[in-house]
């Protein structure tokens, strides 16, 4: 079984790579059989549902394309007055048409293209040229909303909306609401249908609720199908309201009520090509879209981290998820780092032909020399100068139109700042201009480590401006380069700023206890700007297990106390015993500890 993901798809030869994999499975007959097959691991909750309705510009609807027969079939089904006749513009080309002024009105629903698209700075600027920009979002502020939409619509978020999604294995599940909509938020289908009614298409968009839409979607998939198309939900076209409410997760196709669940397709050797046979595809000779040169000698790869998702509009609110990888970073091989004079936890500017970012350096031997890796999540809402999408070139695969986001020629230079520090705030707010930082959700607010060329006063005044009528307290020791201040209102901490040299800085978590207090007591006040904590057991090491909040120091202590496997650690600390996401790291920590023990033993013996 071959499982593949963005390392295959996000390439200008992505389609060829997919077909190279499928070729292997066709050639060996390992497809449609238990335990075999090529398998695309999709990264979104409903990318599959989008593919099913035809939400891509090169699909029409329900796995139909743009042949005259298919256009006519969909036209008759919809009773449509003005059918599209040909494929539309795929994402990168679509936003280029916005930049060129060919597209005048754009409606963005539930996504943040000003962060996620290649050449994201160019895209963000292009959005400002539109005659009409409509953004539907559940969040109040994103980089895309920052482009200034003419109309901004509040939509129901997860937990409030009600409908279906399809996962990577063709399984349709109900996403059900369990909370009332926030404020005036409405479902996306409602906003679109109401717009259609106001455009004069009321009869075709008069949906009382999502079930009516789902039934129509299922009916279209079965319309004049008779086994000619793989996607067929005929059985669900007559689903009653109550059955929709209680629908259990099931895989398509489901042509009729009597058809049994089809876990695997193609077992019968029948494919949906005109001949009924699968096709081998001869792939092109693989080359890089752009090769590194003297100006841009590195290859930048982009991707995700364990505990964040996409542009952090949701995961960025969770304190549990913040501490695994708290800062925007670039991973560099040790040899490259030493050649360039880069220090771990220092900063590097990453520059490509399209943009630049300033990221914290992580030195990692798993990174191949000449290649660097940066995560895609951070943006201007959550950080500063960390928009990695802005670095990506807008080269796409000729068949799929998918951007080549994994191999971009880049330059890497060390960069240093006059001062470092951290800040705690009740709400995310921009810091003074020449400052890099990233907000981490903490209980009751946000914390950010920063590096800056601004003065202490400039930073503090910017914060104080956000928090009026607050009592100020400070502690300065210029000889040691220590500048610390806090804002307190009605006995509760509103903001804390620690500023100075790296080696004089305690971790922000030394203030975690005081930050939680509704009223600062005298002990908390005494310790407030000392950089120490009043509580006896204070652990500032990074969180390894997000589920149970288990930190590195606790794991080391447990190993020292005789736990020498991930299972033993799990038993004692619960770490790794829920989701297992941290098991690879736990394994590494145990292995390192074992290696240290061996070294010590060897040293003892040879002595």
């Amino acid at each position: 079984m071959t499982l593949y993901s963005q390392g295959v798809n996000q390439s200008w030869l992505g389609t060829d790579k997919v077909n190279a994999i499928i070729n292997c499975h066709l050639a060996t007959g390992r497809i449609g059989k238990p335990g075999a097959g090529p398998f695309s691991l999709t990264g979104q909750p409903n990318a599959m549902g989008g593919r099913e309705v035809g939400g891509l510009a090169n699909q029409l609807a329900a796995h139909m394309g743009f042949s005259a027969e298919e256009i006519d079939r969909v036209r008759r089904f919809w009773g449509a007055p003005r059918m599209a006749r040909r494929e539309g513009l795929k994402t990168v080309a679509l936003f280029e048409a916005v930049a060129q002024g060919d597209i005048k009105a754009l409606w963005i629903m539930g996504t943040n293209p000003a962060v996620s698209l290649p050449r994201a700075d160019h895209v963000r600027a292009a959005l400002r040229k539109l005659d009409l920009l409509i953004v539907s979002d559940s969040a109040r502020a994103t980089d895309t909303i920052g482009a200034g939409p003419h109309v901004l619509l509040p939509v129901a978020a997860w937990g409030e909306k009600d409908g279906t999604v399809t996962n990577s294995e063709r399984r349709i599940s109900r996403q059900r609401s369990f909370l009332p909509p926030a404020g005036e938020a409405k479902p996306d289908w409602w906003a679109v249908s109401e717009t259609a009614k106001r455009m004069g298409f009321g009869a075709a968009f008069d949906y009382p609720g999502p079930i009516a839409i789902f039934r129509e979607h299922a009916a279209l998939s079965a319309f004049e199908n008779n086994g000619s198309r793989d996607f067929d939900l005929g059985a669900l076209a007559v689903l009653g309201d109550a059955d929709y409410d209680s629908l259990t997760p099931r895989q398509w196709p489901m042509p009729s009520l009597s058809s049994s669940e089809k876990k695997r397709i193609f077992a019968d050797g029948h494919f949906f090509t005109p001949s009924g046979r699968a096709r081998f595809v001869a792939t092109l000779k693989p080359l890089l879209a752009e090769t590194p040169d003297a100006v841009f000698p590195f290859l930048l790869n982009t991707g995700r981290v364990r505990d964040q998702w996409h542009t952090m509009t949701r995961t960025g609110l969770s304190p549990k998820l913040a501490s695994h990888m708290p800062d925007p970073f670039v991973e560099v091989n040790p040899e490259d780092a030493s050649k360039l004079g880069l220090a771990g936890d220092g900063f590097a500017q990453v520059r490509t032909g399209h943009g630049s970012a300033v990221l914290r350096v992580i030195i990692n031997a798993a990174q191949v020399p000449g290649r660097i890796f940066a995560a895609i999540h951070w943006n201007d809402e959550t950080a500063a100068r960390a928009r990695v999408g802005a670095l990506v070139h807008a080269i796409t695969d000729p068949h799929s139109g998918q951007p080549d986001s994994k191999a971009i020629p880049a330059a890497l230079t060390p960069i240093s700042f006059a001062a470092h520090g951290f800040v705690l705030m009740r709400e995310r707010t921009p810091l003074a201009s020449d400052t890099v930082f990233a907000w981490n959700a903490i209980e009751g607010g946000y914390a950010a480590r920063f590096a800056t060329n601004e003065s202490f006063t400039a930073l503090f005044e910017a914060l104080a401006g956000q928090s009026r009528y607050a009592e100020r307290t400070g502690y300065n020791d210029p000889s040691r380069g220590i500048f610390r201040a806090a804002l307190i209102r009605r006995e509760k901490l509103q903001a804390v700023l620690f500023y100075g040299r790296v080696k004089e800085l305690p971790p922000w978590s030394c203030l975690a206890d005081a930050w939680r207090l509704e009223r600062l007591d005298s002990t908390a006040r005494r310790f407030l700007l000392s950089g120490r904590t009043a509580s006896a057991r204070f652990d500032a090491s990074p969180t390894i297990c997000a589920c149970f909040g288990v930190k590195l120091r606790a794991i080391h202590e447990t190993i020292a106390d005789g736990a020498c496997s991930t299972e033993a650690i799990g038993k004692r600390l619960k770490a790794g015993s829920n989701c297992g996401s941290c098991l690879p790291e736990l394994r590494r920590i145990v292995a390192r500890a074992a290696a240290r023990v061996r070294e010590t033993a060897d040293a003892y013996q040879s002595a």
Binding site: W189, I213, L317, A546
Partner: protein
Amino acid sequence: MNAPTKAPGVRTVCPYCGVGCGIVATPDSLGGAAIAGDEAHPANFGRLCSKGSALGETLSLETRLLHPMVDGVRATWDAALERIAKGLRQTVERHGPDAVAFYLSGQLLTEDYYVANKLMKGFIGSSNVDTNSRLCMSSSVAGHCRAFGSDTVPGCYEDLDEADLLVLVGSNAAWCHPVLYQRMVRAREAHGARIITIDVRGTATTENADLALTLRPAWTPCCSAVFSLTWTMGILSTAPLSARTPKALTRRLPERAESRRTLPRSPKNAAPRARTSPLFSISSLRQSVS
């Protein structure tokens, strides 16, 4: 594993990746909810990753947009929708339907998606409706369509439990699809399945593989090499080749011979014909590919 869910809750699915894990959400009547994995959901059988487990921390209204805005000013839904309908209609009248576009999201529900697609392709009259899924898996769609004539995922998650060999290509599943990855690891523990990774960098996934192949970024020859290897080792199934693919195409495999030349000649290439056993042995693959 999560603790068994006893309290009455609402069965739903996680809003993050494409694994589609079932969740039982139990509202706390204060605007929040307790989140647990749904043991009855076949995608995850109760398990959740770190992101899914922390969903309860993301339900506050603090960053939410709570009312429509027109030109930066709070507006009613009616005013906002009027402005949209009028703007779209005028744009189509003045500049034609292709001057209008929708950019949708893999986070929308199928019902949302269906209505937006219908409005654009059947009523506005343009196909300028695309989605952020373009950035995620459109190459898979195109690859499926080229090979199968349809965008069909052939298998299912149960295959992970049954496979003898799991090859992860360009995927850091340990971080990005943790629930499925842990299922693969359990398959290895349960019946000795082997995990091979093919990637351009070291990750939590490659670290824990039985064999990790690190490639240059343009790697297609690797799969062509594996293809060639299957040919050489005799595990290439001629039955599906002739029965499932047109003859003209089976003849057109120029890179087969070419990439075979790039493989080191190894006695292992003449390994026992694996057609009798369901997979070629890891040791022979290790020697042949490395």
